[in-house]
């Protein structure tokens, strides 16, 4: 590389020495401080996606070769659309219709031709809203990123062979955050449909306008959208549910009624034996089982309101969580690959959110959890 521009400009050149050592004053010296890092569990960390304004929420196919994700990649649509990324070739293709908002995709473990996701493209106004948002952004303004729980979200299934979309939910309200069971026969999802039922009290109607997510609960349905059953019914936002890779357990997060904190819950595949496994006194969410089912990874802002880091906790919640990541900003939405050897998560450590991937140290995680102190007494 030519030195003339870079290093001359940086003042790196010249060996003329005239200065002598001068006393320096140091406010605080960090000498000897060992800087903690995520190397204990994560190695070969790399940014996986670069395309699009922002990307996130990557989920593996059962063979580990495909990843569905959401990304803002197209000039005509300001919102997330769903893409299928081939982890062998690097090819990616949009699989959602292209209009409206989408989120939370998942590949059927029993048949990777089928991908479910939530979308608002059924809203007749979706194209209009999209143009309005583009104009708003073109005016130079930008909203602080927030999720609006658009009541037009419904869950759809995309068939990769026929390119056909099948609508699986039809209720008014936010139906999203969906995932398949291992056998592909059941879908678990989050919905605030109860906030749209008739006879809502005045107080609740007011609440719906401000915090529509307050009404969200966890539901199960058959893969064709039939046989819907609600499995949680407590005040506060229940969402982000997943089955464990063997299909035996469900995991999700529950916000407190005031929305200030969240913690991780598990249940049997039918919703029975619900159990809280964290009391972390922070916003702890986006939990995901390791395929060994021995422990769970989740994101929490224990370190500061907007500094989300990843943590591990044993599947029974007997221990205090163990910290995994050490970077400023957001690290969240973690998922293990089906072989348990890789972790994919969403991070804004380099600017806008993108997907990151790293090798996962399973033995290291087990050891660290074994050494972790016992969970403090339940406060609730």
């Amino acid at each position: 590389m030519s030195i003339s521009k870079v290093l001359i400009l940086l003042g790196l050149l010249a060996l003329a020495g005239i200065a002598t050592a001068d006393p320096i004053h140091v406010e605080k010296v960090a000498a000897g401080d060992k800087i903690a890092s995520g190397d204990q569990f994560l190695t070969q960390t790399r940014q996986l996606t670069y395309d699009g304004k922002r990307s996130g929420e990557g989920y593996f196919s059962l063979d580990g070769k495909l990843l569905t994700l959401q990304s803002e990649r197209e000039p005509e649509n300001p919102w997330y659309q769903i893409y299928l990324l081939n982890l062998d070739t690097g090819d990616s293709e949009r699989i959602s219709p292209g209009t409206g908002k989408t989120t939370c995709s998942y590949i059927n473990p029993a048949d990777s031709q089928q991908v479910i996701f939530a979308s608002t493209h059924g809203d007749p106004k979706s194209l209009e809203l999209q143009k309005a948002e583009l104009e708003f952004r073109a005016s130079g303004k930008e909203r602080r990123y927030s999720w609006d729980y658009d009541s037009h979200f419904d869950i759809y299934r995309f068939d990769r062979a026929t390119k056909a979309y099948t609508q699986l939910t039809r209720e008014e309200g936010y139906d999203a955050e969906c995932a398949y069971s291992r056998d592909g026969k059941t879908i678990v999802f989050s919905s605030n449909r109860n906030a749209f039922r008739e006879g809502l009290s005045e107080e609740d109607a007011k609440k719906r306008e401000i915090n529509p997510e307050y009404f969200a609960d966890i539901y199960l349905m058959d893969a064709d959208g039939g046989n819907v059953r609600q499995i949680t019914d407590v005040p506060g936002y229940d969402g982000g549910p997943f089955f464990s890779y063997d299909g035996a357990r469900i995991i999700w997060r529950r916000f407190s009624a005031d929305g200030a904190t969240a913690d991780v819950y598990t249940a049997d595949a039918d919703g029975k034996n619900q159990k809280r496994i964290t009391h972390f006194d922070a916003m702890s969410w986006a939990p995901f089982f390791h395929p060994s089912n021995e422990y769970v990874i989740f994101a929490s802002n224990k370190e500061g309101f907007s500094n989300f880091e990843l943590y591990l906790v044993d599947a029974e919640g007997k221990k205090e969580p163990v910290r995994v990541t050490y970077t400023d900003g957001f690290d969240g939405l973690p998922v293990f690959s089906p072989d348990g050897k890789s972790l994919v998560w969403t991070s804004n450590r380099k600017g806008a959110s993108q997907l990151f991937m790293a090798r996962w140290n399973h033995e290291g995680a087990r050891e660290a959890i074994a050494k972790a102190p016992a969970r403090k007494e339940d406060k609730n």
Binding site: M1, S2, I3, S4, K5, V6, L7, I8, L9, L10, G11, L12, L13, A14, L15, A16, G17, I18, A19, T20, A21, D22, I24, H25, V26, E27, K28, V29, A30, D33, I35, Q44, T45, R46, Q47, L48, T49, Y50, D51, G52, R73, N86, L87, D88, T89, G90, D91, S92, R349, K350, G351, M357
Partner: protein
């Protein structure tokens, strides 16, 4: 002859095996071996390297460009400059005094010849267009027509308004100053280094100017003894005048020396030599196309480091600069990419270029463009590799992505297997051959693993490179070229505004030496240091590897450009506040920037 036969024999061996770390290492070891003496453009070492590269290309079934029977594409350049006895004669009435060669040095851009004329003093000789309130013009109301102009080196040191200092520093390049004098009608220029300046009373080294064209002015620098003789008998001493100029009154007017005539003889010898780009060609395998995907890396380096760009310490000066990372690393990767591409179906032509003359100022790649060897409008995109051997923490910089909106998706796909943690940056105005193509409106991408402690030193040797990462880079670069040659449309050239201070000179900035080594791959707010030069001002100030500079001279530093800007405004030899983040601690230090010779 013997040498080249041996090389040809050697060249055939590595390509029999598949591309792997061993081959990459073999290329780098050969190119950085003492036999090639640092591959200075136009040297015997360059010639041997070019033969090696030609043989490697031929062994992979790659051809010379259509219409050429050799891979070697020569270009002319000025390889060196020597002052061969420039002198000044100062005449006052009947007395004359001669100032021979040890008092006078010709400027690299000076025409040769002898000129006699009355003398005019023009302060710092600066003309700036005036983005600040008052434009600065040393020639204002000064009659220099037919005269010889005496001017000071550098720029006023004590101007209070910081923005104004910055502006002046950008117009302080000596060539630019001399051109101002010429435009005002002057026939000659004498530069003095003022008594208040760094390098006070010294002549300016002849330096190096690769442009072959003349400047139509005679320009020399002279020492303090000449300055004393010139200012003897005048109202004020040069020191008094400079102090006035420096003290926030930039408009101290110039004046004519009464009864004094100067005769300048400038005798600069330019050595003209021939350098060689090495360019191979893989024709498209399907369809008719005249479009090319270009991939390249410079293979020249600094020789023994005599050209002034060496960073060798005193004990190492004059030793061979092997240039293993800079840029045998990029060359080695491209040789292996060439092998892979030769086996693929190609919807577009591919040209593989090994540039010479890069270290002298990207003159080899510029000559390639100027001679229209491939018309630039037929180049789909240019992928450059320069210094790719120091991958750390799996990081690799992908620079210039602002040159086309398609780069992020191309790079995302290409990187899937190689799996680098890429650090993308938009700026395509890079200090390497990529910028030459970008300026010619070609989308460019540069791969780079960062500056380091062995940069431009005799210690840039082959065993220090990360060959495992370079092996993955072969896949990455092959994938990128694959995307470029298969995509019907190709990337869309996009104009990017220059964010760096440009000006005519950059010399004003180059006066300062801090001894910091920036970490180009860091993604932090501020300027992260991958190290500090031993015994440099930064080291003396207590800065350490890993520190992130967030303030310099009272100015916020969010990135490398802020830092460069801050450097322009600081004073040499004076304590300057620098604040760094060390881990999560804020540390305030004081640095004393030194003068660059």
């Amino acid at each position: 002859m013997k040498k080249s036969l041996m090389i040809l024999a050697m060249a055939v061996i590595p390509c029999l095996a598949a591309a792997d770390e061993t081959d990459l290492r073999a290329h780098v070891e050969f190119l950085s071996s003492p036999l090639l003496e640092g591959r200075l453009t136009g040297s015997e070492g360059e010639r041997i390297a070019s033969e090696y590269l030609g043989a490697q290309l031929r062994a992979r079934g790659i051809q010379p460009l259509p219409g050429h029977d050799s891979f070697l594409l020569p270009f002319d350049f000025v390889s060196g400059m020597k002052d061969e006895g420039s002198s000044i004669k100062l005449t006052q009435g009947a007395t004359a005094k001669d100032f021979p060669g040890d008092h006078v040095v010709g400027m690299s851009f000076s025409d040769n010849g002898t000129i006699s004329a009355p003398v005019v003093f023009a302060g710092y000789g600066i003309k700036s267009p005036g983005s600040s309130e008052t434009p600065y013009d040393s020639f204002h109301e000064l009659d220099v027509k037919g005269k010889i102009v005496v001017m000071l080196r550098y720029f006023p040191e004590n101007v209070k308004e910081e923005a104004f200092r910055h502006e002046l520093s950008r117009y302080a390049g000596l060539r630019y100053k001399a051109m101002n004098a010429r435009e005002a009608g002057a026939v000659g220029v004498i530069v003095l280094t003022g008594p208040n300046s760094p390098n006070a009373g010294k002549t300016v080294p002849v330096g190096f100017d690769t442009s072959v064209a003349g400047s139509q002015i005679i320009a020399v620098s002279a020492d303090g003894e000449f300055a004393d003789a010139l200012f003897a008998g005048e109202d004020k001493t040069l020191k008094a005048i400079q102090t006035e100029l420096d003290s926030g009154n930039p408009h101290v007017s110039g004046f004519a020396f009464t009864n004094k005539t100067v005769t300048i003889s400038a005798a600069i010898k330019k050595d003209r030599r021939e350098g060689h780009n090495v360019v191979g060609y893989l024709p498209a395998t399907k369809g008719e196309t005249d479009e090319y995907v270009l991939i390249g890396a410079h293979y020249d380096h600094l020789g023994h480091g005599a050209g002034g760009d060496s960073l060798a310490g005193e004990g190492d000066a004059g030793k061979i600069h092997p240039g293993a990372d800079d840029n045998a690393s990029g060359v080695a990767v491209i040789l292996e990419v060439a092998g892979a591409l030769a086996r693929e179906q190609r919807p577009r032509n591919i040209a593989l270029a090994f540039w010479s003359g890069e270290e002298l100022g990207v003159i080899g790649s510029q000559a390639f463009i100027d001679k229209k060897l491939i018309p630039v409008e037929k180049i789909t995109a240019y992928l450059n590799l320069d210094m790719v051997g120091y991958a750390r923490d799996n990081k690799l910089s992908a620079q210039g992505i602002g040159s086309a909106p398609e780069w992020p998706s191309i790079v995302e796909k290409a990187n899937m297997r190689p799996g680098f943690d890429l650090v993308m940056s938009k700026d395509p105005y890079l200090p390497t051959d990529a910028s030459v193509f970008y300026t010619a409106k070609v989308p460019v991408l540069n791969l780079f693993t960062g500056a380091h402690e062995n940069y431009h030193k005799p210690s840039d040797t082959a065993e220090k490179l990360n060959y495992e990462a370079m092996d993955r880079m072969v896949t990455l670069a092959t994938n990128i070229v694959g995307s470029l040659m298969n995509d019907e449309k190709g990337p869309t050239y996009t104009a990017v505004e220059r964010t760096k201070p440009e000006g005519e000179s950059g010399r004003g900035v180059g006066r300062v030496y801090t001894g910091t080594i920036p970490d180009y791959a860091a993604e932090v707010e501020g300027l992260k240091l991958s190290g500090v030069m031993k015994d440099g001002p930064a080291a003396k100030a207590g800065l350490e590897k890993g520190d992130v500079i967030i303030e310099f001279g009272g100015r916020k530093v969010a990135n490398i450009y802020d830092y460069m800007y801050a450097l322009e405004g600081i004073k040499i030899g004076e304590k300057t506040a620098v604040v760094v983040m060390r881990g999560d601690k804020r540390v305030a230090l004081e640095i004393i920037p030194e003068a660059r010779k």
